[in-house]
């Protein structure tokens, strides 16, 4: 069998690897510029070589979850395929993901780039939730794989709730919430800049702070009440030590009052920010986005599916995507969905250990699918019909 490369093309990071690999490489999908380093931009994970991580300027190829800046995207691809993950596409098949409801012209551009620039011999387009479905249904320890499942993809640009019935997406039941990792980081940045210290330029640092310091509250009101108390009754408040670009490369969290007087590092006190920010996933209306939260939208999506499939859907809910990494995601989502779901249905919510790369693992099952060869867009096909022809039979 030919080798197959799976590329999960996320707005924030690209997950790439041969389907036989143990785990994918995760590479930031952006070009970054640093204030101190005027000589070169940093592409992908070159940022690790950058010593001064303050005021990192991001150039992203995605706008609201869709690739609009092909120049940037191509530069990132060039870097990955030449240095970080050298691969010869002329004898390697490619599985690549695209966003749900991808616009036709973007699909066209993607096909054109891979056939014209990277000598691709054959490629298959899919979506990250589809790969999750493959991964989920093939890894359950059951006598029979589940027939239906709901994939909740909490990504960087937005979150999607995608019900699957017998391997097919129920397109009319897909729900999108315009809250994702980027919005959460920006919101955290905004409130910290207003309350304590101006960090509006520090997306990179604040993103790490969000990853390290934020969690999903299990009982929002009681956590709010607790956050009002003074330390040590207050179990929420923490100090976040900011990176100083010399000894501390990445900030970290510590209980309040543990700093010695001799330590001269910069700290930020985090209190209700720690859980009020991820709470937006469950209540977007808190900052004025009039949309349903994750749990409510999941119920809404399942109710849009045929009635006989609903018990199966409720029993197989899986949460993936980078923002699913917040601690407390599984218990909170289970609690909320359980309270809204009909009581005679079983509810199961799974958050895999590695939500960010979970969909990538589905690539191996897709490649072994008997229909895989048919779904491939081959070089011959492309040369005969062009990008538009292979995508949309006109």
């Amino acid at each position: 069998m030919d080798s197959v490369v799976c590329l999960d093309n996320g707005a924030c990071s690209i997950k790439i690897g041969y389907i036989t690999d143990e785990k994918p490489k995760v590479i930031p999908n952006c070009i970054m510029k640093a204030k101190s380093e005027k000589r070169r931009p940093f592409i992908g994970n070159q940022i690790e070589e950058c010593r001064d991580i303050s005021g990192i300027f991001y150039i992203l190829s995605f706008t609201k979850g869709y690739i609009t800046n092909w120049e940037v995207q191509k530069n990132v691809y060039d870097y990955i395929f030449s240095t970080e993950f050298p691969v010869n596409f002329s004898d390697t098949k490619l599985i690549i993901t695209e966003p749900l409801f991808n616009f036709p012209i973007i699909q066209e551009a993607m096909v054109e780039i891979f056939f014209e620039e990277y000598d691709c011999c054959a490629m298959a387009k899919t979506t990250a939730p589809d790969l999750c479905y493959y991964q989920y249904t093939n890894t359950q320890d059951l006598d029979e794989p589940p027939l239906c499942c709901v994939v909740i993809d909490v990504g960087y640009s937005f979150s999607h709730i995608v019900p699957f019935v017998k391997g097919k997406k129920v397109l009319s039941a897909i729900r999108r919430i315009d809250v994702g990792g980027k919005l959460l980081t920006n919101h955290l940045k905004e409130i910290i800049s207003y309350r304590y210290l101006n960090v509006m330029d520090e997306s990179y640092v604040i993103n790490q702070m969000k990853e390290d310091g934020c969690f999903i509250s299990q009982d929002f009101n009681s956590d709010m009440a607790n956050a009002k108390l003074k330390y040590p009754e207050n179990k929420i408040a923490r100090e976040y030590v900011l990176p100083d670009c010399t000894t501390i490369r990445r900030g970290y969290l510590q209980p309040p009052g543990t700093a010695k007087k001799t330590d001269d590092y910069q700290m930020l006190r985090l209190n209700n920010e720690r859980f009020a920010v991820p709470e937006l996933l469950f209540h977007p209306l808190d900052i004025g986005i009039d949309q349903m939260g994750l749990a409510e939208a999941t119920i809404h999506a399942i109710n849009a599916c045929p009635e006989e499939t609903r018990p199966h859907l409720f029993a197989n809910i899986i949460v993936v995507g980078g923002s699913a990494k917040f601690s407390g995601m599984q218990t909170r989502l289970y609690k909320d969905i359980r309270s809204m779901a009909p009581e005679f249905f079983t509810v199961n919510v799974t958050v895999p250990e590695e939500p960010q790369t979970y969909s990538w693992y589905g690539g191996q099952y897709l490649a072994n699918d008997p229909n895989f060869e048919q779904s491939l867009i081959t070089r011959q096909d492309y040369e005969e019909n062009g990008a538009r022809g292979v995508l949309f039979d006109e």
């Binding site: 510029k33 005021g55 991001y58 120049e71 060039d78 870097y79 012209i105 986005i289």
Partner: protein, 155 residues
């Protein structure tokens, strides 16, 4: 003999109150800001390329395998596929008006009531600023709000 009058009413008349349209515009702008990639200027924007500084090739193409083949470079794709998100969305709406598409997939409004939080400290709030409609939770936060944000950036 002068009329008796209330100082509070007199003050209230002088006070500027933002109308609904302005408040909504402010809220929309705040949400749009949350979608931004960066808030600062490009740190390399004012960089003047001199002969001494090595110039960077936009394409990182140093793959010997592809030598001799005409490659199109990043510029080609930028020019060919330069539609902005808004244009793509509009096209998609016209080509496929009944969905399911990007617009129909959007989650409907929530059925839960809005919760209010103090704009200053983030705790639940019970008061509203009479001028701009921002929420605050106590006198201290009200003071901070009026000193910093209230009508400072009215547009």
């Amino acid at each position: 003999m002068s009329m008796r009058e209330s100082g509070r009413i007199k003050d209230a008349e002088k006070k500027r109150v933002l109308d609904d349209v302005t408040r909504k515009r402010r809220a929309r702008k705040a949400l749009e800001a949350l979608e931004q990639d960066n808030f600062q200027q490009d740190p390399h924007a004012d960089l003047v390329m001199s002969k001494k500084i090595p110039k960077f090739n936009n394409s990182l193409d140093n793959n010997p395998r592809r030598k001799g083949r005409k490659t199109r470079g990043a510029d080609y794709y930028r020019i060919k596929y330069r539609k902005t998100f808004q244009q793509l969305l509009e096209e998609d709406r016209q080509a496929n008006p009944n969905g399911p598409n990007y617009i129909t997939a959007q989650s409907p409004p929530t059925s839960y009531p809005q919760r209010h939080f103090c704009a200053v400290c983030g705790f639940p709030s019970s008061y509203t600023c009479t001028s701009c409609g921002t929420r605050f939770c106590c006198l201290k936060c009200q003071g901070t709000h009026q000193d910093t944000r209230c009508l400072k950036f009215v547009s």
